[in-house]
Amino acid sequence: MADALLLAPTSLGAYLLVAAVLFVAGVVAVTTRRSAIGVLIGLELMFNAAGLQMVAYSRFRPGIAADGDLAALFIIVVAAAEAGVALALLHAAYRQRRDIDLELHRDLRQ
């Protein structure tokens, strides 16, 4: 049963594989990018991985109805709000240092 679920096209395992690759790519982008936009892109990738998993589990686990769809919908809402605030923050940071390289904003730690 577990083998049948794994990696046959349009099985739960295939969706989980895609979500895992998206999540790993997002983590790598967040940890290695120097530019704040690169970090933002990584965050969006991780949001997408989470949403995809929600919908996939909602389809393959009987009796959960469409709750996963709504969770993914709320993830998209949160991501949209986050992108708007992030752009405003980047604008504020840019006004101070004329760049959004995160190395230039190290003093925020203090």
Binding site: L5, P9, T10, L12, Y15, L16, V18, A20, V21, L22, F23, V24, A25, G26, V27, V28, A29, V30, T31, T32, R34, S35, I37, I41, G42, E44, L45, N48, G51, L52, V55, Y57, R61, P62, I64, A65, A66, D67, D69, L70, L73, F74, I76, V77, A79, A80, A81, A83, G84, V85, L87, A88, L90, H91, A92, Y94, R98, D99, I100, D101
Partner: protein, 171 residues
């Protein structure tokens, strides 16, 4: 067969776009690759019978969030990635974090697959229309999301606003 081919095209687009967005030097290209990945995920939503989500993904994510990110690349002094070399710690840190994230994802997927295959193969319940769920059990999160969006909008405007105190005018 055709369905499997289409599925793997969507899945491959999503995965290749994500990996490209994570490693490519040019930030503008990274944002465009993110868009490619988002479109691939929208295709996967279609395979999951979530047509509404696929539409929302395309309209809000590709049409809204991606445009914001492309706009934000204008703030970077080195969009093309020509000037700055990747820092020396980028490779080891990236490799370690990738391994950790892959480990977490593997454990979660393993547990999830076990739980699903152990569940009784009940007849799939008919999908409840999303609107019924939103007005019913999801009402509080729905209203909270509305409040969150309003708050984010006002906060974004407040952050980019130049507040000037009266004393500033003298200097």
């Amino acid at each position: 067969m055709t369905a499997a081919l289409l599925f793997w095209i969507c899945a491959g687009t999503a995965m290749a776009g994500a990996l490209g967005a994570a490693v490519v030097r040019n930030l503008f290209q990274a944002a465009l690759l993110l868009g490619l990945s988002l479109v691939g995920v929208a295709g996967l939503y279609l395979f999951l019978d979530a047509g509404y989500l696929a539409c929302v993904q395309l309209i809000v994510y590709v049409g809204g969030v991606l445009v914001l990110i492309l706009f934000a690349t204008l703030f970077s002094s080195d969009v093309l990635g020509l000037v700055q070399r990747a820092p020396r710690w980028a490779m080891p840190v990236g490799a370690v974090s990738a391994l950790l994230a892959a480990g977490v994802a593997w454990r979660l997927a393993d547990a999830g697959l076990r739980a699903v295959s152990a569940a009784p193969a009940a007849t799939p319940s008919p999908a409840t229309p999303l609107g019924d769920l939103l007005i019913g059990p999801w009402l509080v999160p729905f209203l909270a999301a509305a409040a969150l969006l309003t708050l984010a909008l006002v906060a974004a405007v407040a952050l980019v606003q130049r507040f000037r105190l009266p004393e500033d005018d003298r200097g």
